[in-house]
Amino acid sequence: MRYLKLLGIFYKYSLQSELEYRVKFFTNIFMSIFWLLSALVSVAVFFSHTDKIGDWTWAEVLIVVAMFTFFNGVMEAFLRPNVGAVLDQIRDGTFDFVLIKPVNVQFIASLRNIVFWQLIDLAIGLGLVIYALAQLHILPSPA
């Protein structure tokens, strides 16, 4: 419970510090969409000459692109900001301040930061997976 509360505070501060650089926040979101579009364009060019690459159809390849976008978002949002910060802190010696905190050190070192705008990759990725699954007529059914 205490840890959940801490997590809430961490994320609040991450969001606040991101919103300080508002232009960067929006250009980053734009870049996310741009990268996805450029991936889709390349796949579209391939499929303008063929129906299948290997045994993969257009919708199946879309799922691969979508999953890549999704997990890339997970990495960039949750993992990279923390791993990168640890590297910097160890080099600067400020990691000491993390070590003396009265909470689990691994918790604070691996969850202190989150990059909010990267969550858009999760949303886009998920949306694209659902779209591609619908194209393949694979829909969740009550078991």
Binding site: T27, M31, F34, S38, F46, H49
Partner: protein, 262 residues
């Protein structure tokens, strides 16, 4: 001027040798053309795609990789760093426009790169003996001209984006967009001829083609003489545009820089 350049080049080559290990890694790290080659290679298994057979794709993408290596630029990172940390002030005191210093640093790298790339190319040729180019003396000459111009357009456009650091803090984002477009429309994801006709009609005139694809097209021998002439005209045009834009931005930027100091 020639003496200044040769001195700067020697300096550049010396500093390249200091970082030879990382230089090698930078060279090998860009595998994008090879990934795309793998895709097209497997797609052409059942027969040529719009006149491109498997060995055409191998020839095309190996030359794309070569041109990409020989035109690689990273000046924006140097420039952004120098502007932000005030090190540009020192360069401004030198008796030669800073452009030439950055230019020769990059040229030194281009002198050294073939030492690694040509043996790699020979290995590729042993593996795929069907690699073929239209290598007559005249196409080779045109290829070298186009290669030099492609490098120049790349360098100048990135230098221009780098100079934007006088005004904005993340000029590298704009540069990222530009070079992503260059990958898309410059012939990496597909030879431009394989795009839908209306797209390739536009892409043929955009600067991105002249940053990568055009030299390769020359060597492929697929360009008719009037395509060549049109291509070189457009290439010259874009090179000229970068010079004009650079001059304008440099003049404005240096005033801005002086106003706030570093």
């Amino acid at each position: 001027m020639f003496r200044k350049y040769s001195a700067l080049m020697r300096r550049g080559i010396a500093s390249m040798f200091e970082y030879r290990a990382s230089m090698l890694i930078w060279m090998l790290i860009n595998v994008m053309p090879l990934v795309m080659l793998a895709v097209w290679f497997s797609m052409a298994e059942g027969g040529p795609i719009e006149g491109y057979s498997q060995s055409d794709f191998v020839s095309y993408y190996l030359m794309i990789a070569f041109v990409q290596q020989m035109t690689s630029v990273w000046v924006i990172y140097e420039l952004a760093h120098d502007i932000r940390h005030g090190e540009l002030s020192i360069k401004l005191l030198h008796p030669l426009n800073s452009l030439h210093e950055y230019l020769t640093t990059n040229l030194a790298d281009k002198v050294l790169r073939p030492v690694v790339l040509i043996p790699l190319g020979l290995v590729a040729w042993l593996i795929f003996p069907s690699i073929h180019y239209a290598a007559t003396p005249s196409t080779l000459l045109l290829f070298i001209l186009a290669l030099a111009a492609a490098w120049f357009i790349r360098f100048m456009s990135q230098y221009i984006f780098g100079l934007l650091a006088f005004w904005i803090s993340d000029s590298t984002t704009i540069n990222d967009i530009w070079f992503a477009l260059a990958e898309m429309l410059g012939g990496i994801i597909a030879p431009l001829a394989l795009f839908p006709p209306n797209v390739s009609a536009i892409a043929n005139w955009l600067p991105f083609r002249f940053m990568l694809s055009f030299p390769v097209e020359i060597l492929s021998g697929r360009l008719a003489p009037n395509d060549l002439a049109a291509g070189f005209t457009a290439m010259l045009f874009w090179a000229g545009v970068t010079v004009l834009v650079y001059r304008w931005i440099w003049r404005k930027g240096i005033r801005q820089y002086g106003a706030f100091g570093a």
